[in-house]
């Protein structure tokens, strides 16, 4: 069994690396929670890159239904075709379209399946997936076909805790909460994205970033991705270190509401 080691462009904690490996060996879905921008979604891509497996990504929306992830039966098309005689409407297979989960279970090779933002969907959604994720198999009722995954996909599930997930679902997952990175970790992350950035400037920017994050009662606290945008903006404008010391440029990159900007500016 290949062990997940991580890749150069994604900084992850030892704890998370061990848990990913545990999830692979124990064949359980890995549920990730954490503040936005802590790299939950990215982890699935990194796993697929490191283990050289295909990534299938299922973006869950508030309207998503669990059954759609397996397959959709296009009734309307079939009804419509039944009026004309150019297609064999008794062949139901052509009206079955596999969803992302169905695709992952039917794949010949092992894949990484990302179920992104599972909490966006209805509360019943995770419960409706229990059987398929447990058994890694599903039936297409309309055709009587049965599919079983040849290799259990590595399942990564992310949640932003917009909704509580049902206990029965949680029991089957491994759970990890990605903490917001500390300054040391954050510098490492920024370093990966901006390898040429001067050390002093980087620590100065990161220090300011944490100052803003922690000092004020913000409605939306800036996250890693916003920090990276900020560094980009500062670099592009060529602002000097001394200048950066005196003021906070491009606050709009970090803070997304007027209230928050006002709170920081007052300080």
């Amino acid at each position: 069994m290949n062990r997940f080691k991580g890749v150069q462009t994604y900084i992850l904690s030892d704890a998370l690396r061990e848990i990913v490996n545990a999830a692979i060996v124990l064949q359980r879905p890995l549920l990730l929670k954490g503040e936005p921008g802590t790299g939950k979604t990215e982890l699935a891509r990194v796993i697929s890159e490191d283990l050289n497996l295909r990534l299938i990504r299922w973006n869950v929306k508030s309207t998503s239904k669990a059954s759609d992830g397996l397959y959709v039966y296009d009734t309307v098309q079939r009804l419509n075709d039944s009026r004309f005689h150019d297609k064999d409407v008794s062949d139901i297979k052509q009206y079955i379209k596999l969803g992302k989960l169905g695709e992952a279970l039917r794949s010949q090779d092992q894949v990484v399946l990302l179920i992104d933002e599972i909490d966006k969907a209805d509360l019943e959604f995770p419960n409706d997936l229990l059987y398929e994720l447990d058994q890694m198999s599903f039936d297409i009722v309309e055709t009587g076909e049965h599919f079983r995954a040849k290799h259990r996909p590595i399942v990564v599930i992310t949640s932003n805790s917009e909704k509580e997930l049902p206990d029965a679902f949680l029991r089957r997952c491994l759970f990890h909460y990605i903490e917001f990175p500390d300054t040391v970790m954050m510098e490492k992350i920024a370093r990966v994205h901006f390898p040429d950035l001067r050390h002093n400037l980087l620590s100065q920017i990161v220090a300011k970033f944490y100052f803003i994050r922690q000092k004020h009662e913000l409605r939306k606290r800036p996250s890693t991705s916003e920090l990276l945008d900020w560094i980009q903006a500062i670099l592009a404008s060529g602002i000097s270190e001394t200048d950066l010391n005196r003021r906070l440029p491009f606050l709009g990159v970090l803070l997304k509401t007027e209230d928050d900007v006002a709170k920081v500016v007052v300080h």
Partner: protein, 389 residues
Amino acid sequence: MFINLFQSLRRHGVPVTFNEWMLLQKALSENLMDSSLTRFYHIARAILVKTEAHFDKFDRAFLECFGHIESNEDLIRRIEERLLQMPPLQLTEEERLMVEKLSLEEVRERFLERLRNQDDEAHVGGNKAIGVGGRSPYGAWGYNPAGVRIGQNESRMRSAVQIAEQRSFRNYRDDIVLDTRSIKTVLSYIRQVVREGPRDTLDVEGTIDATCRNAGELEFIWDRAKKKRIKLILLMDAGGTMAPHTELVSRLFSAAKDIVKDLRFYYFHNCVYQELYTDIWQLKSVATRKVLDQTSRNYKVIIVGDAYMAPSELLSRNGAIDFWYRNDRPGIEWLIDIRKRFKKVIWLNPEPQQWWSSTPSTRMIQRIFPMFELTLSGMQSGARTLIKQ
């Protein structure tokens, strides 16, 4: 030995089930932890604990079971401390040449072996064991160019016991107060399924039926999708004693606005009388009677207040705290009216529960409404009461 952890977790209120426990056994037998306590900590937590709200409980249970265990990291630190206390060794030129012979690889290999054989007594000036001031390549302040210095670099990994001791997830516990997102989670729990919205779901049965009636020409029948809905009235105390809780109440309010489409909200001052206010400054008002009469019984009602007032405010005519305010019915009668009008009413109290019994007004209100703490676990119990039939 791990069964203690299982029991300790349950004692601390982490809902660990047998299945999860068996999974942990499987992880152990697959040697995923590689005999490292730190790895065990992380993997066991991932398997046994499913919400960050319980991480702190896990930490405490972990400390209870493993707090006394010394990990490798601890041992190395102790060796280092011992080494620091010892006097340095002086060598002659001749002796120095003799010890410069070992290569780094050899040194490294033997180090581990020797560490295993060595008992934990301080060791000074020998040739073999790990200690200080010796000629062995292992230790500190000794003399050997290829020697392994123990404990020079800061340990990169914190030990599991240290992590647990830090209890950095204390803030995620569910009995502390809430942020907007967790309030939303609780509120969405009270929503119930109804058919609503545009007719955009194909009613297959209906379509086939209609198409047949239409002599085979397609006729689509659409239905409304099932959605989860809640109708909610929020009554908020904006009185003076509520000032410390303003932030919390406004969080509840903004969460409710986001998630509840049919939200009605009113303010009151300490207790409800014949008028409710539609703004927090209590300038615009609407008759309580009218609200009671014109709102469907199906609305669920959440009253937020500290229930802390003089008994007269609750029991007397003209008892309202505002001197100029005249109420010809005591507040408690209005509260009972609310209770009778709506099927489901709860009272959320931002004050800690242990204080309630010492406040007469709180005790009286508790007899009218089921009262819950305005914390995550309090709101969850409240939500359960609201959806109970």
